[in-house]
Amino acid sequence: MNQLPTDTNYPVHNIVGDLVRHHFPGVAGYVNGFLTLASLLLLVALLPVFLIWLERKVAAHFQARLGPMRVGYHGLLQSTADGLKLLFKEVLMPKGADRFVFFLAPILPASAAFLVMTILPFDHHLQVADPAGGVIYVLGISGLSTLGILMAGWASNNKYSLLGAMRSGAQMISFEISLALIMLLIVMVTGTSSLRGIVLSQQGTILDWWIFKLPVLGLVAFMMYMISSTAELNRAPFDISEAESELTGGFATEYSGISFSMFFFAEFVNMFVSAGLAATFFLGGFLAPQIGIGLIDMVLNFIPGFVWFFCKTVLVIFLYMWFRWTFPRLRIDQLMDLEWKMLLPANLVLLMVTGVFLAVGWIL
């Protein structure tokens, strides 16, 4: 029933890596390391460009309009233009700001997202590293982005920024608890905290994904994950740290040009990472959605795993966008109420019930 998969091909390998290893056995480690980092960097650089375009298009279609249309096919190059423009824009620092912290802050959220990405299992053999305590690593690193926002708010010498940062700090610390508890739930049922291990524990048909495998509880846990991760991402309806109509720009009020674009980019990479984790935990990661009919499953399996991973991730990202373009924003105290009075107790109950399920063996 709940056995760990036997596939233990560590370290992760793939065709490119094998080729390098075959031809340059001496420096293979360095070359492969460089290649991984370069490709990951490329991904980090290109993902937001695509995601920002997607967000704007999706938003537009939610609002009965077209969105970017005039730069490239259906505005595909719109975010490229935005990025380029921000790159060549004057960088300003307000008087009285802490110069070092002010310019360090935007780098942190981006690097946090980048670091978490290193352990995302994109495919069977497409993962930079798979530490045994992957889940703990994720939780540890994601605090960095909060730190970046707090630093930005503090260093800006602006009351709006400070308010935004404080809101963000309180919010993220609270919701991290929920997030950790939901991850704990998955770790509890899979028995591993390696992300690859978690994906592999969902092998089989669609019904073996954790969202369905735990009867009802999986769905509830998924919903709670969506809520807390939206809050963790500072996205509407939990975007109180930016809250344009209240705090103008929140923590990023004083940032311009490239340093603002770092925040902007990090927001979207973080969203990707968060959605990727949702796919990993609940939607079977890179596994194809098999339905138990041999022929169709064969076709589905033929499609490479990373395509499935991206599809699922984009699906979750779409959910995030759907939330954002539908709901009004919560107030700070309501946000805290939601976490401490609703999500956290519900989480604990869920953990307990799952424990009972595990003991009785009710998992599908």
Binding site: Q63, R65, V71, D82, K89
Partner: protein, 412 residues
């Protein structure tokens, strides 16, 4: 880094690359790319003062959707904005704030003046004591979009014109802070007239002979009569008199006169209730009372249960050259009748007791009267100017207000 901003970086890069073969072409293509990016990524600042802001919002709405141009990323903070659309009237008090906003934006930054007010003051060109005639007196404007307010399509056209302008930017034509309009405000209407009259006079002297010749050659000349446009004719319609709801004037007056016998009616000699009843239902009772009993009367009107007056419409004033009248307009939401009250205030000692302790709403109304008429309200909790800046000279709604620096009188 200065105001020139990022163009400095491109210049440095250009200097290095120019030395190598093909370098110039590379620099040119980078320049082209940067100009392209800037033109297609204009993030506007959320800034709007008046009517034009609504049309700006309409431009952002689904129907017109400025997102198609990549303009929908409206930023609330000037640090991230590239474009400021001057939508609406700019008044003197807002001026410094607008300049600050502009200065807070990182270079390169662009300005569109939208609508007549932002271009030249528009409807407030003459006679206004607070409007700045043209946004380009404060910050340099790149594109002027005329209209009042311009249609969303007109604004989109303006944005396209701006894009055209940005696409031409490069090393030879770098972005720089534009020029401000520094000519003093002139009465263009009278100026045109004067210039024309002078020109005509000059011309006239040379035309005497030609005229006389024409007259002798065509003695029967009769100019064609201009065709008047046939305008639709309408019949006069008798007006249905609107009734004044609630208590009738006569009974209100009787009730007031019982307690305040010294009360009179404005511009009415005969103040008996019978006469007032004859003035018709549309006449609103216009009581006049001296300063001594002013607050008591207001308090009485508010507290008297039978009169049922509960809402203060406004407190205002009028300048009768020799004295002021402070006007208090009251309404009964329960019955529907209105009641006006006035109290003369001397010009030399423009002071009157406040009624903000009776009606809280009077607080701001009295501040407005103080601001525009200079009538001081005794015991008012917060007697400051409400609309104008503290150093504004004089009180503009007084009939003798003159400020040639700010106000240019309508020429006709």
């Amino acid at each position: 880094m200065g105001v020139s901003g990022a163009s400095g970086v491109t210049e440095q890069v250009a200097e290095i690359l120019d030395k190598y073969p093909g370098g110039i072409r590379l620099v040119d293509s980078i320049e082209y790319l940067v100009a392209w990016a800037r033109a297609n990524s204009l993030w506007p600042l959320i800034y709007g003062t008046a009517c034009c802001a609504m049309e700006m919002m309409s431009t952002g709405s689904s129907r017109h959707d400025w997102a198609r141009f990549g303009v929908e990323v409206a930023r609330a903070t000037p640090r991230q904005a590239d474009l400021i659309v001057l939508a609406g009237t700019i008044v003197e008090k807002m001026g410094p704030n607008l300049v600050t906003l502009y200065e807070q934006m990182p270079a390169p930054k662009y300005v569109i003046a939208m609508g007549s007010c932002a271009i030249s003051g528009g409807p407030f060109y003459y006679d206004s004591y607070s409007v700045i005639r043209g946004g380009d007196r404060l910050i340099p404007v790149d594109v002027y979009v005329p209209g009042c307010p311009p249609r969303p399509e007109a604004l989109l056209y303006g944005i396209m014109e701006l894009q055209k302008k940005i696409r031409k930017e490069g090393r030879r034509n770098p972005w720089k802070v534009g020029k401000l309009l520094d000519t003093p405000f002139v009465d263009t209407h009278s100026m045109a007239k004067q210039e024309w009259t002078a020109q005509e006079k000059e011309k006239e002297s040379g035309l005497q002979l030609a005229r006389e010749r024409f007259k002798t050659e065509n003695p029967d000349y009769k100019p064609a009569k201009p065709q008047r446009l046939a305008k639709e004719k309408f019949a006069a319609v008798t007006r249905v008199e609107v009734r004044n709801n609630g208590l009738d004037n006569a009974s209100i007056l009787t009730a007031v006169q019982k307690v305040f016998p010294s009360v009179t009616l404005f511009r009415q000699t005969d103040i008996t209730p019978d006469n007032v009843a004859g003035l018709g239902p549309e006449y609103i009772l216009d009581l006049e009372i001296g300063q001594g009993q002013y607050t008591e009367l207001v308090r009485f009107l508010k507290e008297d249960k039978d009169l049922g007056i509960d809402l203060l419409l406004q407190v205002t004033a009028v300048d009768w050259q020799d004295h002021f009248d402070v006007l208090v307009h009251l309404l009964s939401t329960r019955h529907g009748h209105k009641l006006f009250l006035r109290c003369p205030v001397a010009k030399e000692r423009a002071e009157i007791h406040t009624i903000s302790d009776i009606f809280r709403g009077a607080d701001w109304h009295e501040r407005e009267v103080f601001d525009l008429f200079g009538i001081r309200f005794i015991d008012h909790p917060d007697m400051r100017r409400i609309f104008l800046q503290d150093d504004f000279p004089g009180y503009p709604l007084r009939k003798d207000f003159e400020d040639p620096e700010r106000v240019v009188k309508r020429p006709y």
